[in-house]
Amino acid sequence: MESSGIGIWGVPLAILAGAIRVSTPFIFVSLGETITERSGRINLGLEGTLVFGAMTAYAIAVMTGSPWLGVLAAMGSGAIFGLVHGWICKWPKVNDIAIGIAMMQFGLGLAFFLGKPFIQPVAPRLPAIPLGFWSASPQIQAALNINVLFVIGAALAFLLWWAFRNMRVGLILRVVGDSTDAARAMGINPDRVRLLATATGGSLAAIGGAYLSLYYPGSWNEGISSGQGLMAVALVIFARWNPIGCFFAALLFGGAGALGPALQSVGVTQGYYLFYAAPYVLTLAILIATSSPNRSLTGAPGALSLTK
């Protein structure tokens, strides 16, 4: 019994392991979107950036043999997508939501187009840290085999939370996000700040994509993303534009996705798909409970078109 299984503890362990595995792209995408939205702009095109990042990372990893070079290349491509989005959205009368959807379509198209030759080759995977070394149980070892990117993402969430409060860059970003006029009065160029924030957001989203293609599920194909990029927007609202909130929200979203398969493994097969919907229902319920027709959402950047 000791070596063959861990009994009833398998379910929470599987959920935890699944949450950690699935949540990493959510963490990066939502942190990226948080930075963008905190500057007062919304980027709905992160889905395209994420998939393009996944393709770039995989292709570069195949060609150079180094997964980390792949991640770097993905960050570069994501930043370019962010720059394009940010540059277009600074013009008057341009609808940032529609541009986001168009950029998503463009990113997906370009990723499928350029990534066609890379569906067959196998890329080296990103390394994982075997935190379960102390246990003899293979399940625990597998569950605690945590990818480096997850650790980086977690650290980044706390760093961003601190930076938003204490660093000059963070404060500038928040001023621009809360009031374009106040930023101008302080001599800050809001367009430039938003451009850089969108580029940073794009490069983080692309890291999320790199994780998908280089670690879990660890291959490149056209169905690599299951909407992680689109959901970033909901995640950020759920987390109230707070980076640490994003980290836990990402774990929750990942955990909810892992709940179905984990229960299935112990014989509960009903309502499998409804678990996928759980985070969305929860986000919607929280939105309904906390919104009011008379004021904008608490914690929302003042200049964000979405929450006005």
């Binding site: 709905l44 395209g48 394009v84 277009i88 013009w91 008057p92 009368k93 341009v94 609808n95 939501i97 529609a98 541009i99 959807i101 168009a102 950029m103 998503m104 379509q105 463009f106 990113g107 997906l108 198209g109 370009l110 990723a111 499928f112 187009f113 066609k116 909407g227 689109l230 959901m231 927007v233 909901a234 609202i237 009903q270 309502g271 499998y272 798909y273 409804l274 996928y276 919907a277 969305y280 229902v281 986000t283 919607l284 939105l287 309904i288 919104s291 009011s292 027709p293 008379n294 004021r295 979405l306 929450t307």
Partner: protein, 376 residues
Amino acid sequence: MTVETHDPAMTAAPAKPASLRPAIEWLARRTEPVAIGLVAILIGLALFSLFILIIGKSPAMLFQLMYTGGFGSWFSIQNCLSRASPLLLTALCVALPARLGLVIIGGEGAVVLGGVAAAAIALPLVGFAPVWPTLILMGLAAMVAGGLWIGLAGFLRHYRGVNETISSLLLAYIAIALMNQFVEGPLRDPASLNKPSTAPLPAEYMLGKIPGMDVHWGLAIGIAACILSWLLIEATSYGFAARIAGGNVRAAQIQGLPVGRLITGFTAIAGSFAGLAGMIEVAAVQGGANASLAAGYGYTGILVAFLARHNPLAIIPVAILLGGIDASGGLIQRRMGLPDATVLVLQGTLFIVILFCETFYGRFKIFNPDLWKRNQ
């Protein structure tokens, strides 16, 4: 962007025949979207040609094939129209709320639920109920499902202040999960092994082709929906009230317009169109509800609506253009050895450029009706 203060002496001078003046003003106003749109398409095509040149293929050949595959023959045109028909309805799902100032991006959810509702209501009827009432019931069920779904987003917007863009996106994901649950669970046809699906509709219950064409009735329904929507917005008092509310909610409320009911009603109508698109997918294409319902029509519809500037009549040519580009994908793949994603790249490029060119509205004096007034 010049704001003219009229000199009464100048405007009053009747220099030319008075009947010509409104015509020129009208022409100036109407030429602007067409001219900017065409220039945007040309810029988009030029950028795309550059991309094709960089990867070492001939753009001329590509456009030639695109024309042949999308519009060049009767076969291509029918293929193009078939692909355009769901876009007509999903674009309306965005365009109608947009006239009220709402950005709904969750049409995909209404399509999916509409398809499931249609398939579910057909299941007990197939076999003994007559064909046409069954199809009408399926359409109604789909419209109710889609209408409730998107109407909910409108309702929450007005009465709870929940952002409709986000809530409709969330509702789309919930709808897809519900579909998977139904299709894999209670509604699953045991015979569908690899791709879980509801029981297929018998051939006689399928929505047939338009006589003389290889295009299903969905096209006619879509075009009718666009025309009806245009009439609703331009020719009824509801549409007028909606446009006022879209321009300025406060002003509309002060006028005593029922803004809440307008928002809920228009979003519900919009959602019912998208739901109908789902029913047509089931009854004319798939034969049953399955994961193919979430094929992205809802998201492409967003772009169609924005490109048509939320004008229901303009949706028709825009959807046909996109349908044609889409239809040519197979031919480009076969003849030029390019991936089928080529058409996605082209569509994305066109979308981005056209949406970017929105910024040019009002920047060219030649389109300003006031300029023509002054020159009289």
